[in-house]
Amino acid sequence: MQRRYRTLPELKAHESAQAVSFTDPELACKLTAMGVLPGAMIEMVRKAPFGDAFYVKVDGVRLALRTEEAEQILLTV
């Protein structure tokens, strides 16, 4: 069976996908307040030098996220 969602860390560099929802409610609060809404296109820019953090772009805004935060972001396949 095909998976319906993937999470942000699965994106390759310069790959984009649409955000569907956020699994952790507290993080959802933070992300939506920052304007990262379900439906937004998220582009993976690069991984941090020592891993464990991601540099992404959402509507021209640059964000840094930890892996455990990025894993809460569900994306379209």
Partner: protein, 723 residues
């Protein structure tokens, strides 16, 4: 209150906006030098207050609130705003709010603004960064925003000061403008309405949104008493109110409503182009190159501070020498020896203790402000988040730790950029472990004493090892503190990385001024008290110690142990031995004997409190080499650093314990003393700054005790192992 009375009160204006909206730049444009930084009561969040005058003469007291995305806070910075705006009797509660929004990302910056609208606080929308918008080809029409949001809208450029005067004029008109928007911006769900109504009824609150916010924040709002919390608890429970879900729903609904308004007002070019920032980040945050570039930048910062210390330290020495000369000349006619001594060695020593750090604080604040303003520090946090988090710190802590390699005082002053309370406290607590410049002269004396037969090559290795010891203990202590300290603050990284910009000179300048002013204001008193106390301890003792010292010196000379040429040095040495400081040294000797130290080292440790390098000058006095010491130190050549203090070294190495007649300075004692100096908290200036930055003596005292105990234990173990 009538109209005249109101005129006497300054108008309270709050500056609000998302992080990276350029709020501080606007604040600096409005207030200039008329600003001060304080701590928000109860929390370590920094709050800036300033004042300025409106065109028609009304005074304004302006508060720069910490940047926030929403009234649903996720950090202690954001909590401050939610706390003040839900508490109408708070001293910081504003008459008018100026909301600063980054016009290049307006579609993301209006959430908090619409929340403020619903609190019915008179507000002005200031669209900032119009220069960037023009450069990116963004077209702005103000009219739809003003009409649909019902507020005055001003286009400003914080960096150039463009339209700041117009913003002032609009603030002035605000008192006569009544809000246009009569209906709330956000329409409550049925649940929210019933919760809000119940709270309005029970608490006598007229604004529905303020009532709802009490329900959301009942657990942490500090102005609520336990009875009020209980009522709020009952209301939210009976209505089955789910705070987190309601917050997300509300946020999404607000975005749904203001996004079309923004789209009407702002025309973006169709795609987001790859900008200079992307190109810079491709290099600076590169997986391999990024960390190397960072190491380079930090080496530059370190060199600036290190050589800055050498150069400006010389200036301060020169200035102090001149001042001492002037002071002596001024006081000499009075013929009071102790007064001259007190002024030159007590008060002026204290002044030096403050002055010597001013260039340091200015320089490091300048460098950090440049890194922060340019946008680079945010990238540092991104790159080193994982590495530093293991030790309870933050990417920004690295800057403090490296600055600590020069001097802990400016480094600790610089930790304000660390937003998270716990990460900041840990950084402040561990930074003094890093070997600072003041330890270098002490290491230079002690290393050859500890390893007399080793060559300079080994000495240099040991010298390097002292730095490693500092770094390892700092990180290990961070790791331990991370386990011990608890914080209720959720730790998120999720942070926005601003576009790179050339640092704005005015912001950098005002930051440096602010740091220097607050440093001097906070430290001069305690430092003066401590230097005066230390002066007293080493100048007085039971009985007439000058007379006793004179007699002892004469006896030595008559006995033929020393020649008459040494008389002055001998008297100084005996005077110190007979003083209270000497008594203290002898009193603590049993306690430090297990580490291999005698009472003379006790005095040295005590006097190091002024600054660690004072250990050397104290040793010169104790070993009756005062006159030699001055020559040796001033003639110091850089070519052979380890031989700089040769005479002192020889005299120290020949010294023996009076009771056992064994040598005091064995390899074991030397190494143990090195470890002690690496780990002990012996710097009063650092302690005072720690108190200043954490707001409590508690942290400074804890740091002093913990570092002292660690130094003692490690020095003891070193002594045991080495013997």
């Amino acid at each position: 209150m009538n109209k005249d009375a109101q005129q006497l009160q300054p108008l309270k204006v709050g500056l609000v906006g998302n992080p990276n909206s350029g709020k501080s730049t606007v604040f600096n444009q409005l207030t200039g030098l008329r600003q001060k930084t304080g701590n928000f009561p109860g929390v370590t969040v920094e709050i800036k207050e300033g004042s300025f005058t409106l065109p028609k003469g009304r005074r304004v007291s302006l508060v720069d609130f910490p940047g926030a995305y929403s009234l649903y806070p996720t950090s202690s910075d954001e909590k401050v705003l939610a706390e003040v705006l839900t508490h109408t009797t708070d001293p910081h509660f504003p008459d008018v709010l100026v909301y600063i929004a980054d016009v290049t990302h307006l579609e993301k910056h209006l959430l908090l603004f619409t929340q403020i609208l619903d609190l019915q606080i008179p507000a002005i929308l200031a669209l900032n960064m119009i220069d960037l918008a023009a450069a990116e080809g963004i077209k702005i029409t103000v009219q739809p925003l003003a009409a649909k949001l019902g507020v005055p809208v001003v286009l400003v450029n914080g960096r150039t000061g463009e339209n700041i005067a117009q913003l002032s004029a609009v603030i002035e008109q605000m008192e006569s403008i009544s809000p246009v928007l009569t209906k709330p911006f956000y329409k409550f769900s049925d649940d929210e309405t019933s919760v809000s109504d119940a709270i309005k009824h029970n608490f006598g609150i007229s604004n529905a949104y303020r009532a709802l916010l009490l329900a959301h924040h009942k657990d942490w709002l500090p102005f609520l008493n336990s009875a009020e919390k209980a009522i709020l608890g009952t209301i939210t429970e009976t209505k089955q109110f789910q705070s987190l879900r309601a917050q997300v729903e509300e946020t999404l609904s607000r975005f749904d409503r203001f996004t079309p308004i923004v789209q009407e007002a702002i025309q973006h070019p169709p795609v987001f182009p790859t900008t200079t920032t992307d190109r810079i980040d491709a290099v600076l945050t590169h997986r391999v190159a990024g960390p190397f570039i960072f190491v380079g930048v930090m080496m530059l910062v370190f060199s600036c501070i290190f050589y800055g210390y050498e150069i400006t330290g010389g200036w301060v020495e020169g200035l102090m020498g001149w001042l001492i000369e002037k002071a002596e000349a001024a006081v000499a006619p009075l013929q009071i020896a102790w007064l001259t001594d007190f002024i030159t060695k007590g008060i002026l020593e204290g002044l030096k203790g403050v002055l010597v750090f001013v260039p340091q604080v200015a320089l490091l604040s300048f460098l950090i402000a440049m890194l922060e303003e340019s946008g680079y520090l945010t990238r540092v946090v991104f790159m080193f988040d994982k590495m530093m988090r293991r030790f309870g710190m933050n990417g920004r802590s690295i800057v403090a730790l490296i600055g600590g390699g020069a001097c802990a005082v400016p480094a600790i002053k610089g930790t304000r950029t660390i937003g998270n309370w716990k990460e900041r406290i840990i950084t402040i607590m561990v930074t003094p472990f890093i070997s600072c410049s003041a330890r270098i002269p002490v290491y230079m004396v002690l290393i050859p004493i500890a390893l007399p037969r080793a060559g300079w090559w080994i000495w240099a290795q040991v010298f390097g090892a002292m730095y490693v010891l500092g770094v390892v203990t700092a990180l290990a202590s961070g790791w331990v503190l991370n386990k011990i300290l608890k914080t209720r603050e959720a730790s998120f990284l999720t942070l926005q990385m601003p576009v790179y910009r050339v640092p704005h000179w005015k912001n950098v300048w005002l930051t440096v001024m602010d740091k220097v002013k607050s440093f001097v204001a906070g430290v001069w008193k305690p430092i003066l008290i401590i230097t005066s106390a230390l002066w007293f301890l080493s100048s007085f003792g039971p009985g007439d110690i000058a007379e006793k010292a004179k007699n002892s010196a004469s006896m030595d000379i008559t006995a033929g142990v020393r020649t008459d040429a040494d008389r002055g040095d001998l008297e100084a040495s005996y005077k110190l031995e007979y003083s209270w400081a000497g008594k203290v040294g002898k009193f603590i000797e049993p306690a430090i004997r297990p580490l291999g130290y005698d009472w003379k080292i006790g005095i040295g440790i005590l006097s190091s409190f002024l600054a660690r390098e004072v250990f050397n000058s104290t040793m010169y006095v104790i070993y009756s080499l005062e006159s030699v010491g001055k020559k040796e130190e001033s003639a110091a050549g850089d070519e052979k650093p380890f031989e700089r203090y040769a005479t002192l070294k020889d005299r120290m190495m020949n010294d023996r314990f009076r009771d056992t007649d064994q040598r005091i300075y064995t390899t074991a004692t030397g190494l143990s003393l090195l470890v002690f100096y690496a780990l002990a908290m012996q710097c009063m200036s650092t302690l005072v700054v720690v108190k200043q930055e954490t707001g409590r003596w508690r942290w400074a005292i804890l740091q002093f005790l913990v570092m002292g105990i660690m130094a003692y234990l490690f020095a003891w173990v070193t002594f045991l192992v080495a013997s």
